[in-house]
């Protein structure tokens, strides 16, 4: 009894309840967000086991059949199983969004650190470039990049990543400017630490915490951008299973009453984006020490 799963679950819920009391509704927002993300991540990892059909199988069932027991989300005009395509499609959207956020954070944080630390002409030029990228509406910029690059996973990732680089850059540069004036950085200089050492050992660890929240929010946003791009037919070749592309294909059949082709991909995109936004929002509130004082 002591180690039964139900007891473990009870302990887990008790802990959650304690956290919930401590942080209030923000905690539950975080938990729900994390649960959604976990669900989709599991779906992506175990696609082969979950999906009843091959997502490319053009003989999975009758054409355009509504949701049924064999086809949980129906089939499309090419006789493919929508549920299987949703399951496999999670890999694409999750992979692209997370990779894009990682790529943009690595580039943005690195440049932000160096620019803020070095200052001078380099900083001025880089800030100007970043501000001009920032001034574009994100989707327009992503469309421009996706149109320029050969369709593929890597190019759509780059197209999505580009629009978030300035966010990290500006955040990290500002923090760096502030932290490099701290006395412990001065003290590090006085013990003979080199510039590179100061940047990575003293400034970087103090800057990185603030980017965590931005990161999760960005993944949420990147999901929307990725779906928007593929919905427009940009960025990915049709041979890849993707929610945005399925949504755009299903749109044509809506007038004839085929609702399942757009409802399921559309709902999944929204749910996943909301999951990341909730996680980010919850983290932002919980990591903010000022809120604990109330």
């Amino acid at each position: 009894m002591k180690h039964s799963p139900s007891r473990k679950m009870a302990v887990l819920f008790a802990r959650f309840a304690v956290m919930g009391k401590k942080y209030g509704v923000e905690w539950w927002i975080l938990v729900v967000g994390a649960a959604i993300i976990t669900g989709v991540v599991l779906m992506a990892v175990f696609s082969t086991a979950i999906a009843p059909f091959d997502p490319y199988d053009q003989n999975a069932g009758p054409q355009l059949s509504p949701p049924s027991r064999t086809h949980l989300m129906g089939t499309d005009n090419l006789q493919r199983d929508v549920f299987s395509r949703i399951v496999y499609g999670s890999r694409t959207i999750l992979g692209v969004a997370v990779l894009a956020a990682i790529l943009s954070s690595v580039v943005g944080i690195t440049f932000g650190l160096i620019s803020g630390f070095a200052g001078g002409f380099f900083d001025k030029i880089l800030s100007l470039v970043m501000d001009s990228i920032y001034s574009f509406p994100g989707l327009i910029l992503a469309i421009a990049f996706a149109a320029m690059l050969e369709p593929g996973i890597l190019s759509i990732t780059v197209a999505v990543a580009v629009i978030y680089i300035p966010t990290y850059f500006r955040l990290v540069r500002g923090q760096t400017l502030q932290i490099k004036e701290e006395l412990y950085v001065e003290a590090a200089r006085a013990i003979g630490a080199s510039g590179r050492r100061i940047l990575w050992q003293y400034i970087f660890p103090n800057v990185i915490a603030t980017t965590v929240v931005v990161f999760t929010m960005n993944v949420g946003d990147a999901i929307m951008i990725e779906a928007a791009l593929t919905y427009l037919g940009l960025g990915l070749p049709p041979s890849i299973v993707d929610w945005g592309m399925d949504l755009s294909m299903g749109r044509r059949f809506l007038p004839s009453g085929v609702w399942w082709l757009i409802t399921f991909p559309g709902a999944m995109i929204s749910i996943l984006a909301i999951g990341f936004t909730m996680l980010g929002e919850g983290l932002a509130e919980i990591l903010n020490p000022r809120l604990l004082e109330k």
Partner: protein, 324 residues
């Protein structure tokens, strides 16, 4: 005036900060010698250039500060001419520095022990982490801090303890010269007294030469062997501590000493010096102190007095200069 036991000599040092409205002459033509084993007290009011002088010794001036002219000779080597590598090996290893505010001088994200290890391994890369921690422990023991404090974060310690940690970090590499920039400003008087006692003990033990920068004449009187008084970026007087306190030559030093409240005298009001420190972008012509000097004469407005020798004491004042 260089003698054999001079450890650090500033020669006609000028530190300038070019800013949009002109050039701030923070340190102007300062020549100073610090002898092996002594405590040199550097005093003056806020903005007189004393901290800038301290920072310039390690070439740690904030932008846009530059050493415009002069030499800083340490053990026969000119720090102003040193390359980056030599400079990095000088900082911390040969010359230590402690700062005004111990509360923010430690990196808040790392345990104190890790910061000690970092300090040691910056200079001695071959030292193992274990060995570095042992060395840190032994120096903390000397400072009266338990070894398990090494595994704590800075915020878990009091201000006095953090300042002792700072001095521990400054001394762990065995420098022979220590720059203490207002080391007790943020400590209360009790902790301040304990800290100064400790500094005095360490000085003998580690064979330290100390440049003690402070606006607090009481601290300087307690610690210093010799005193240098700065005003408006220039040295106005330097000499043995007792004689400067007993018989100040420069009117500024006299005014400064008269401003210390004396508990034994029944003073109706605190003595103050009229006026404010000079604008260092456009310093007054002649002696920088003349607008506030009660004994200013014509020559003070016209030309700058040089440092003149008055029986082992140096002062920059026309009252004591040989006229020609």
């Amino acid at each position: 005036m260089t003698t054999a036991d001079t450890i650090l000599a500033l020669k006609d040092l000028k530190v300038h900060f070019p800013i949009h409205i002109g050039t701030v002459r923070a340190v102007e033509s300062v020549s100073l010698e610090i002898r092996q084993g002594e405590v040199m007290g550097l005093v003056g009011e806020s903005g007189c250039g004393k901290s800038t002088l301290g920072f310039s010794i390690l070439r740690l001036l904030r932008t846009p500060g530059i050493i415009a002219a002069g030499e800083i000779v340490y053990h026969g080597r000119d720090i102003v001419q040193m390359g980056r590598r030599e400079l990095l090996s000088l900082r911390g290893k040969r010359i230590g520095m402690i700062f005004q505010d111990p509360l923010t001088s430690l990196n808040p994200l790392f345990r104190v022990g890790d910061q000690f290890v970092e300090t040691i391994r910056t200079h001695e890369k071959q030292v193992s982490r274990k060995r570095a921690l042992e060395r840190s422990e032994s120096i903390l023991a000397r400072l009266g801090i338990a070894a398990d404090r090494l595994y704590e974060y800075p915020h878990q310690m009091s201000g006095g303890m953090r300042q002792r940690i700072m001095i521990g970090m400054a001394l762990v590499l065995n420098p022979d010269f220590l720059i203490a920039d207002e080391p007790t400003t943020s400590l209360d008087v009790i902790v301040e007294a304990q800290f100064l006692d400790l500094l005095n003990e360490l000085r003998a033990e580690f064979n330290l030469t100390i440049l003690l920068i402070s606006h607090n004449l009481g601290i300087v009187a307690q610690m210093a062997d010799r005193i240098t008084v700065m005003y408006g970026g220039r040295i106005v007087e330097t000499g043995p501590a007792e004689t400067v306190f007993a018989d100040p030559l420069h009117p500024y030093t006299q005014g400064l000493l008269a401003s210390i409240p004396n508990i034994k005298l029944d003073q109706p009001a605190l003595h103050t010096m009229p006026g404010a420190p000079p604008d260092l972008v456009n310093p007054p012509g002649g002696c920088v102190f003349h607008p506030r000097c009660p004994r200013a004469t014509d020559i003070c407005r016209r030309s700058i007095p040089g440092l003149t020798d008055e029986k082992g004491r140096w002062t920059a004042c026309w009252l004591h200069a040989p006229r020609d």
